[in-house]
């Protein structure tokens, strides 16, 4: 497929505000997880919480979009010179031909949870509650579209933890069919009780900071994040990193348990390689989905072992950010770009002894070395798999 150049990106997660902070955290091994203090009855777990979101209300003009999720979306738009980059994009590309595709799993459901809590405690439904600007899955997409002054096609993708990876696939399709000349992709998901107690009910939450691919791994740490990226087909501001391939598949197995043989995940990775016209030997690093649940990591290992040589360096960066669910795809795509631009392979924070039965070349510590091509995996409930391939176009 024709590559899409990445001309700007921005990120906020517990691992840092902006891409420089995220890169420093990765290089220095400083994670963002903390003991859980979220909600009225905090579970005994660790979370990746973005500091001070409670004290960053939206402007009066944006009140219709007020919710934690849109606060975090705005915070990310304001990092890394992203707003300026979008203004520059709009001077090159007609805003009616810039698509906007954002992923989210739970959107602003926290606002509805808080409304139900208020109803229970006070007997009154809160007057300020508004569904469309907060809980609605389209809320962040509408908010960001308005903030950025975009006029092109837009929708939200909500496929659980693959949401903000799959946005890249739609962006490529809208550009390759000629409907768009550029696209802004991204995702945002924020902490809420639905995911904390929901994953806990499935016994998938760890009582410690998550340890992906460790032999003692015992579950996820939930995080929150927002990230955005500009994708262009013909760019004059070529940063050298591009989306080279994508793949999407289903497990056809279970809603909340991955297919043990990894056949679905493997198909997504094969499609990404085929679209990029690359072989497994040409991949320098795999950013794993690596949630740190026993079954997820084993299924992912099975899918990779049947496709890649055992020497391919792999790591999961969820020890820095937590599992940011619908924002995991964009957050880890940004980590892939940082790895290529700055030349490093991220480690797997908190992991002491990689599970020898999984057979992968797990990088525990971050190491500096040239990286040209990165495969990034995102897998979600519903058996929704997405693999993205990033790399330099001019090498």
């Amino acid at each position: 497929m024709d590559p899409l150049q990445i001309t700007a990106y921005t990120t906020v997660s517990a691992a840092g505000d902006g891409k420089e902070a995220l890169q420093s955290a990765l290089l220095e091994g400083k994670g963002g997880l903390q003991p859980n203090d979220f909600g009225h009855a905090p579970l005994d777990t660790w979370i990746g919480r973005v500091a001070d979101l409670e004290n960053r209300p939206l402007d009066e003009d944006d009140r219709q979009f007020e919710c934690r999720n849109n606060r975090l979306a705005l915070m990310a738009l304001q990092q890394d010179g992203f707003l300026t980059a979008v203004e520059s994009l709009k001077s090159r590309v007609d805003p009616t031909r810039i698509g906007l595709f954002l992923g989210t799993s739970t959107s602003g459901i926290l606002s509805t949870e808080q409304a139900y809590l208020a109803l229970r405690n006070s007997g009154r439904w809160p007057a300020g509650y508004h569904f469309k600007g907060s809980h609605d899955l389209f809320s962040a997409t509408q908010f960001v579209r308005q903030k950025l002054g975009l006029k092109g096609p837009a929708f939200s993708i909500s496929t659980a933890c693959s949401s903000s990876a799959k946005v890249f696939c739609d962006a490529h399709r809208f550009i390759s069919t000629g409907l768009c000349d550029a696209a802004i992709v991204g995702g945002v998901d924020t902490l809420c009780l639905t995911t904390l107690f929901g994953f806990n009910s499935l016994e998938l939450v760890s009582g410690q900071p998550c340890r992906p691919f460790d032999q003692n791994r015992d579950g996820i740490s939930i995080g929150e994040a927002a990230g955005f990226m500009v994708l262009e087909k013909n760019s004059t501001t070529d940063s050298g990193v591009a989306l080279l391939g994508y793949g999407e598949s289903s497990d056809a197995y279970h809603i909340s348990t991955p297919r043990p043989d990894g056949a679905g995940a493997r198909l997504a990775m094969e499609q990404a390689l085929n679209r990029a016209e690359l072989t497994v030997d040409e991949i320098d690093y795999i950013n794993l989905h690596g949630t740190a649940t026993p079954s997820n990591d084993r299924a992912e290992a099975n899918s990779i072992n049947r496709l890649f040589p055992s020497s391919t360096p792999c790591s999961s960066t969820k020890g820095w950010t937590g599992h940011t669910l619908g924002a995991a795809g964009i957050t880890e795509s940004i980590i892939a770009c940082l790895a290529i631009e700055a030349g490093f392979i991220p480690g797997t924070l908190n992991t002491q002894s990689p599970d020898p039965t999984l057979g992968l070349n797990i990088q525990c510590a971050t190491k500096t070395e040239p990286v040209t091509r990165v495969l990034s995996n995102s897998f979600g409930f519903g058996g929704s798999n997405c693999s993205l391939l990033f790399g330099r176009t001019s090498c």
């Binding site: 009225h40 009855a41 009616t96 799993s105 459901i109 509805t112 949870e113 139900y116 109803l119 229970r120 439904w125 509650y129 508004h130 569904f131 469309k132 809980h135 609605d136 899955l137 389209f138 997409t141 092109g152 096609p153 837009a154 929708f155 939200s156 993708i157 909500s158 496929t159 659980a160 739609d170 490529h172 399709r173 809208f174 390759s176 069919t177 409907l179 009780l193 639905t194 107690f197 929901g198 994953f199 009910s201 499935l202 999407e248 598949s249 289903s250 497990d251 056809a252 197995y253 279970h254 809603i255 909340s256 056949a263 679905g264 198909l267 979600g380 409930f381 519903g382 058996g383 929704s384």
Partner: protein, 266 residues
């Protein structure tokens, strides 16, 4: 401009129980009469999913199953797109009620069914297919976004897709802030080339707003159309039920643009 073909329409809504019943109503041969929606239990789902699937999953899969019964394209060759504004209203209510408890406890089945792509996940299990599925939302324009995305994927990847749109109303307290009038689901197959089942050849464009959205002549069907995001498909379903020579349909999409769909019978 995107060119594609449509076949295998299906619908499940009050008074539009399956395509065979809905077709004469949409063709204005029979009068539309609202009737309670049956409790669908799509047989294509494995027994555990029939028991565990949420109301939105059962409704969405009911129409998907009906489309599959008409098309000659093998289910495992179809990618799929599920478009819905709300997802599952009953689960949202149950989860948020449970989470307001001083010691919150949620049902694991309800939680895993709460993801927006649960119907897509159950669908891939039902047809045992590793093909890609996507699950979209665009508020009241969720059907328009689904149709656009299906047409784009059909052209970009030269492949056939199943498009499903569904939405169900909230009950109190959320019904007041996001009112929907009735449940509605529809499904159709989008193909890049004509097949023996093709009913319409379509071309789709995104344009600036120049015309009001296409409406239903029957007042009750029009009420249904504006009362549920998935029911915005009704003017297209009417074309599929009784194709005229050539018709251009307009769908509201975003505040500054709309979709125009030129439909020609095949």
């Amino acid at each position: 401009m995107l060119s594609f073909y449509l076949e295998a329409p299906a619908v499940a809504a009050p008074g539009l129980d399956g395509w065979a019943n809905a077709k004469p109503v949409l063709a204005e041969e029979n009068v539309y009469q609202q009737a309670p929606l049956p409790d669908y239990v799509p047989q294509i789902l494995p027994p555990t999913a029939q028991r565990r699937g949420s109301i939105s999953t059962l409704l969405a899969i009911q129409t998907a199953q009906e489309s599959l019964g008409t098309t000659e394209i093998a289910p495992t060759e179809l990618a799929s797109i599920f478009a819905s504004s709300i997802g599952d209203p009953e689960i949202v209510d149950r989860l948020c009620s449970a989470l307001a408890d001083p010691q919150p406890m949620v049902s694991p089945t309800q939680f895993h069914n709460s993801v927006h792509n649960a119907p897509a996940g159950y669908w891939s299990i039902a047809i045992d297919s590793l093909e890609s599925t996507n699950s979209l939302a665009a508020s009241d324009a969720s059907f328009a976004a689904g149709l656009l995305s299906a047409a784009v994927q059909c052209r970009a990847e030269s492949r056939s897709l199943l498009l499903v749109a569904y939405d169900l109303p909230f009950e109190a307290p959320l019904d007041a802030t996001r009112p929907l009038s009735a449940p509605f689901a529809t499904s159709m197959v989008v193909t890049p080339c004509a097949t023996r089942q093709t009913q319409l050849h379509c071309t789709l464009e995104i344009n600036t707003i120049s015309a009001p959205a296409s409406r239903m002549a029957d007042a009750k069907l029009e009420q249904l159309r504006i009362g549920n995001p998935a029911a915005r498909a009704l003017p297209l379903l009417q074309q599929l039920a009784s194709p005229t020579d050539e018709e251009t349909l307009t769908f509201d999409y975003l505040p500054d643009c709309q979709l125009q769909l030129k439909c020609k019978p095949c």
